[in-house]
Subunit: 336 residues, 2 copies
């Protein structure tokens, strides 16, 4: 399926400028890359159409990167770790893009990765590309823009895409659903693992790292052992991947090579079983359904009669003066 088959409506928009963007991205030029991402992040309808056409044209050139999700609470040392990892990967001859999903960025104006000075060495490196979280009104919007940016970075030849997110809220699931491997950074403090378990983040981790092991190595080992026990309880036993727990000091660059070895090991093992590609296919399909559901819900909420009667029907359901099914049937009836 090519552009002319899937989106005839956008073809007229797909002019010389956008052809130049596509060519520039494929030629691995940073300026067209940044411009394309700006198009993706724009709220203007004509920009959205153009962004969609550019992405469609780039699609045959995507999928080549290792997509690494990284999460952890503020203070766990994500920036130091990502900078260290990025520089290590560049040393290995790889090109690295760092993106972020921060649902609070629309409120705060971008807290994570907004300040590039947090990754001073990496941000100035010609083989690295760092982009802060897009602002959008919803997590779904932020995540979708980041996912599309990831595809564009792949077309621009980046070998590793790191997607960072803060360890609060639901953004972890969104990042886990767009990456190949989801890595959780933990503090060696007692209790940090409990917080991750409670929030359901531990459950979706493919790799856990106890950072800041230099400060108190014994505490880091205790945390590692506790996390292993928790993982044993939380994850199904009969699968091809046992979630590794590593101790690491991002500050001293100690353990970064071992971390990457586990990531490539994960890719090798799951590629052999076919799970790696199956996961990507499943992610793409789930993403489509999420967007369809969000679209259906938004159309429903914007229907004039729904808008008018929803508040009083919802109140009646809450008070028990009408049933959920009667209210739902009545509201759905307006769509006919």
């Amino acid at each position: 399926m090519n552009v002319s088959e899937t989106s005839p409506a956008t073809l007229s928009e797909f002019d010389a400028i956008d052809h130049a963007l596509v060519d520039g991205v494929l030629a691995r030029q940073l300026r067209p890359l940044a411009k394309t991402i700006t198009l993706i992040e724009s709220q203007r309808e004509d920009h959205k159409l153009r962004a969609r056409a550019v992405i469609e044209a780039l699609l045959p050139h995507t999928g080549g990167a290792m997509r690494v999700g990284i999460s952890g609470v503020p203070g766990v040392g994500k920036s130091t770790f990502i900078e260290g990892l990025g520089l290590y990967l560049i040393e290995q001859g790889l090109r690295v893009a760092v993106l972020a999903v921060d649902p609070s960025s629309s409120l705060t104006g971008g807290s994570i990765l907004g300040d590039k000075t947090r990754m001073e060495h990496l941000s100035h490196h010609p083989q690295a590309f760092i982009r802060p979280s897009p602002s959008a009104c919803s997590l779904g919007g932020v995540a979708e823009k980041t996912r599309e940016t990831m595809l564009v970075c792949e077309a621009a030849g980046f070998d590793v895409i790191i997607v960072e997110t803060v360890g609060v809220g639901q953004s972890e699931t969104a990042v886990a659903n767009m990456t190949d491997i989801f890595c959780l950074l933990q503090l060696p403090n007692a209790g940090d693992d409990l917080q991750a378990i409670k929030k359901g983040i531990m459950e979706i981790a493919d790799l856990v790292v106890v950072n800041k092991a230099d400060i108190d190595p014994a505490a880091a080992m205790r945390a590692k052992s506790q996390i292993k026990t928790a993982l044993h309880m939380l994850r199904p036993m009969s699968q091809n991947w046992t979630v590794p727990v590593l101790t690491l000091s991002a500050l001293n660059q100690d353990g970064v090579a071992e971390f990457w070895e586990q990531v490539t090991n994960y890719r090798t093992v799951l590629t052999r079983t076919g799970e790696f590609e199956a996961k990507r296919r499943h992610q793409a399909l789930a993403w489509m359904w999420d967007m369809i559901d969000a679209g259906l819900r938004s159309r429903f909420r914007n229907h004039p009669q729904v808008k008018q009667t929803l508040p009083q029907l919802a109140a009646a359901v809450e008070q028990g003066t009408t049933t959920p099914s009667v209210a739902a049937m009545r509201l759905l009836g307006y769509l006919n």
Copy 2:
């Protein structure tokens, strides 16, 4: 909001027969109760309309029962426990209804509660009412029918509604979302708790019971201690309710009174904080949105152009030849 305001379309259907059903249910007669439930479970459109009108008329008389969800894997002793609990409650002067949510019942013809002889004494008691799981094509359908049946039983003056479900699949969440307190029965075997944790059932339990404690009391105490540790990790610490773990022998009727004491204690504590009513309001609203989402999805899937193009677009998304957003936008575009 009364019947004439909310559902004018159903008023013509609301004839003398259905008035007799409403009066019969309110008079606590079992035959009209059973007939109303049969209407609710019917797949015929005219029956559905009549059922909705009857439920609307009964609504002002609902909400008075304690709604108790009970789950556990096959073999944990649910029937023996529910029979023992039911007979105990009847001794205390209460009337008890036992319903079931079994999503497999449409395939197997009703496995749980289908055979009333499993609860021989309770099923013959005039103060008890036992109804097997409705058959329906989806879990959502089964759960919705059970939820409406629960409301009818409340209008018929039952003081306690027990909703049983099997410890497999997603039915636990559905039952937890329609009851006031969700109780998990566990075996004293090592590993049963791990299974419940992995399936996310332990996380939603308000009360955990280690049954068959008579067989090996020491093993039951070990299981209790393990479950307490797991709950400590899984549940938020700062709330008004610490999930109790009880050991019990349903066979010997040992611990049933203590179980009920915890249930009433739960109600007292959460009523004082306002959480009990808040939970019911939240459940009703969430139910409405589930039904709306299901309705929107079903209308979407049944749209002729969606039906025709969905398979090839889904395949293109899976293969990465189109993006989830392009596919979603195109499919949603058909609804205009």
